[in-house]
Symmetry: C2
Subunit: 276 residues, 2 copies
């Protein structure tokens, strides 16, 4: 498995800077974010990674499907198109939380508590989106998120649940993300990684900080700074047959405040020392 820099780890870098940073540090793959790709321009971003000889290990992110409305579906179709143009190995889908609960915000007056309904909506929208992606050669990657994000970001909380959602579709259309932060606690994680096999579309690593910061979104730490024992998870992902990149995606106020080149240097060192 080769190292990939998810550009959100070096949040201050544009696509152009992230691509140059990867080249400078000898990193062969990059995970891109739609917002930064839009700022750089889609065609320009695609040209930059192609000319640098980088793989695009993922495009982050589609999803937020639980409203089940036309706007969400249209936005995800655009995300698929962008992933196709970038030649991304997958489009990561964060499926969304309870309808009416905005990420990081208290539930609005019209917020839903219908968790089963929200999950059913995800399945229904996926049934439209999966063939759209498949026909364009884009692989959707369902990402189960840690249950602390269930209210506002993802009603898909376990790898097993993501695999159940993916099961009706060809594995080239719909895969899953194994992200150490989200799955490390799961008593079924090893059996579900084995079950996933070739469904694993992306392996993302970062540590789980404890205690979590007040904004739980920023609890993702550099490998070695938290409580996760990485080697058993990495071995399981390898044993399942995954041969893609290993992407480092860190949301963390201190990491974001640091010099991005230093962050990448630390990331490479920790990747070599802690992850395997």
């Amino acid at each position: 498995m080769s190292l990939s820099l998810n550009q959100r780890t070096t949040k201050r870098w544009t696509v152009e800077q992230a691509v140059a940073g990867c080249v400078r540090h000898g990193i062969e793959a990059v995970g891109l974010w739609r917002e930064e790709v839009a700022e750089q321009g889609l065609a320009e971003s695609a040209k930059l990674v192609r000319e640098a000889g980088l793989r695009v290990s993922s495009l982050c992110r589609g999803g937020f499907l639980t409203r089940g409305d036309r706007a969400a579906l249209d936005d995800n179709r655009r995300a698929v198109d962008e992933a196709a143009e970038l030649g991304a190995a997958c489009l990561v889908l964060v499926v969304g939380g309870l309808p009416g609960v905005a990420p990081g915000q208290a539930p609005g007056a019209a917020a839903s508590r219908d968790l089963a309904g929200a999950r059913a909506t995800v399945a229904a929208v996926l049934d439209v989106l999966a063939p759209y992606a498949g026909e364009r050669g884009v692989r959707l990657a369902l990402e189960p998120l840690h249950p602390v994000y269930c209210p506002d970001r993802a009603v898909v909380s376990t790898l097993g649940q993501a695999l159940d959602l993916a099961a009706p579709y060809p594995q080239e259309w719909v895969g899953v993300v194994v992200d150490t932060f989200h799955v490390w606690w799961d008593p079924q994680v090893f059996e579900q990684i084995a079950r996933a096999g070739a469904r694993i579309a992306s392996y993302q690593v970062c540590d789980y900080l404890h205690p979590l910061p007040a904004d739980v979104l920023l609890g993702r730490g550099m490998m070695g700074d938290g409580v996760i024992d990485f080697p058993p998870l990495t071995r399981a992902v390898l044993a399942a047959g995954y041969g893609g990149d290993i992407e480092v995606e860190i949301f963390n106020a201190e990491v974001w405040a640091a010099d991005p080149d230093e962050v990448v240097t630390t990331m490479k060192e920790r990747h070599a020392r802690v992850v395997f």
Copy 2:
């Protein structure tokens, strides 16, 4: 199911005050905490609940077994003895987090990342503790905690995992707690409640606040103040055959600051309106 006041909901009340409060509000059962029982005196606490005609729906709590040392085992034996003297329906076990990670604290220098090892220790200690409890007529109640507490409080994170741990023992010796706060997000919760059947030793309710407060321990809210849809969970617990009390356990700075009699009045109103 009859309402029970877990005394931690009215944190300022001693055992004597909680017992008097239950009588005053027509509540037939109380969940006690070891710390408050020790302050009141064990024999005096037992006398108070007996004379008031209250059921003790649970004693909170044993556990923190993951160090696997003699002190932890001895303390849990004492907790069993206390539960026996109080006539508690069960002794709640919060099994403990990673060794060296104190509740709510950053990991110490000697903190472990061996999650599988910590889980194995829980099983090994339970194998000693379960017969000790069974012989004294005390039912242990394994409580799976929300995965956000996995590092520091409970390496048992799902109802399915708790049931696997309980399986080797007679159900009179080892049951499980279904606590809405901890299980509401679990995609397997309904199938695991059905599987639990007569293993359900306690049904605890409180809401899941979103966003969680900075101290995630205090994210337990009054029913109706968070994101949980209670009736499907309550119906599932009833359908599984549970006929014990429904205990309200809330850790929440605002609730603790309020007048306890007002809290109990609100609790009764919400119990009637939101839970079924």
